[in-house]
Amino acid sequence: MSAINIENLSFAYDKELILDNINLEVKELDFLAIIGPNGGGKSTLLKLILGVEKFTQGKIEIFNNKSQKNISLIGYVPQNTNVNIDFPIKVIEVVLMGHFSNKKPLFGYAKEERACALGALKQVGMEEYTESKIGSLSGGQRQRVMIARALCSHTKILVLDEPTSSIDIKGQKEIYDLLKELNSYITIVVVSHDISVILEYANRVAHINKKLSFHDISNKKETFHTHGENQHFCEVELLQMLGADNCNTCKDKE
């Protein structure tokens, strides 16, 4: 089944075309990396999927339903998680925010919501920090909490925007390992600049620069050797991998 299905999607701010006729199918349990230059439309595509921006042309389906209907199945992790660090809020309260606002307004949270939030914290390995103040955590730990928040409402698709932009190298690897783990039962879509890192984990890559080109790299990884302990591709290999046989520009040259 396709988790996200985008057909003939175009989007423009005023007269400037940002996305031109995008077609993209994300299958269930895919690990999709969205790469591309700044201003190429990556974030706009995310906003359209999340329903923050409204589109006029094309369609987006989530689990074979109109995106608005199934929007609660998507968990979102925003790019900058360093905002409001001084805010007096406990980890558990941040995670509880992930619940969709359909409960009647009343002080506090329902028991099952609390249980669900604790479950999400366990999934990301942060259950010890439930009652900690969010500002006392490290960048990597805070990112885990944000992932827990996104997982909170029975999420089937996790969408992350530059999840490691403000984390040190060790933390980055831990976050990606966590995502890999979650990928066994959740579809993952990551927008990222760290191409070399993301490609170790992703099985599909979409390159967006107004237009979209799609690469399935799941069966190509074995052909490349590893450097030292960590699997790591160097840029030439990356380009080869992406360009090998499904890149249109390369074909034209031949």
């Binding site: 007096p88 969709f100 307004p105």
Partner: protein, 271 residues
């Protein structure tokens, strides 16, 4: 001091002090975490326009100030939703225009208006029964709103973008916070005056922020701390025959200084 408690105006001042302190503690917390301190200052000064008009047309001053403060809150809310990055300019504008309207209307009012100073620097000893009713209704409303919409207000304050994604009506809650802030500013003007109102809304909150892990805790602690400062300030002003508003603010500031020193000493925390 004990015999002073038998005077009705002292009793009123104490009741008003406690009511306003709690309102200021709760709303001050929201103002600080939403980074709206400058905005609160703008509303306080804009409400002077309402005070001036109320004096000129002869309707209740609380009503005039409230109307003006709420009006400026709504204008600011609309402008901010459209153009967030120019917010400080708009606030500065509303700040000055409101003040100017107040000054002009007071000029136009016949007779000598000696009482106007009390709105600039507070007059808690002149609190009337009607003022106290107004304050009680406001505090009850604030508590009611917080109980019913705590999670939404928390979500909007902490991460409004995410709250929007989760289906929270961000614009509604933002405007609600602004309107409650406007009304709280108006009652705080009665206690410490519009020039000093910012200090009352921020000093207890700053202390509470260091002591609490959650927004709820922050509201409760700042309410208690504000009450402590207000009562101590009242006692100080009564004993030494000084202005009550300024006494409350200076005691609060001294309290903050002592707190920060102790905090530094015991925890080694930076300010």
């Amino acid at each position: 001091m004990i015999e002073a408690l038998s005077f009705e105006f002292v009793q009123n001042a104490l009741i008003a002090g406690i009511l306003v302190s709690f309102a200021a503690g709760i709303i001050g917390s929201l103002i600080v975490v939403n980074r709206m301190v400058f905005l609160a200052g703008g509303m306080a000064h804009a409400s002077y326009g309402g005070i001036g008009m109320a004096v000129y047309f002869g309707f209740p001053i609380f009503l005039g100030a409230s109307l003006f403060a709420v009006l400026s809150a709504i204008i600011i809310a609309i402008l901010t939703m459209r153009q967030r990055n120019r917010m400080d300019t708009f606030i500065g504008l509303i700040w000055a225009v409101g003040m100017a309207i107040g000054v002009i209307f007071i000029d136009l009012t016949p007779g000598y208006n000696v009482d106007m100073m009390s709105y600039l620097f507070g007059s808690i000893l002149a609190v009337s029964k009607e003022n106290i009713y107004f304050m009680s209704v406001l505090l009850t409303t604030i508590i009611f709103v917080m109980i019913f919409w705590y999670r939404d207000i928390l979500a909007v304050s902490y991460d409004s973008e995410y709250a929007k994604l989760r289906g929270v009506n961000v614009k509604f809650f933002y405007t609600l916070i602004l309107i409650l802030s406007a009304l709280t500013v108006v009652v705080a003007i009665k206690v410490v005056g519009l020039i000093l109102v910012i200090a009352m809304l921020t000093i207890p909150v700053y202390i509470a922020e260091k002591l609490s892990k959650s927004l709820f805790g922050m509201m409760l602690i700042s309410g208690l701390v504000a009450t402590l400062f207000t009562l101590a300030g009242l006692w100080f002003s009564y004993t030494y025959n000084l202005s009550s508003g300024a006494s409350i603010i200076l005691l609060s500031a001294s309290g903050l200084g002592i707190f920060l020193l102790l905090n530094n000493f015991f925890k080694g925390n930076r300010i």
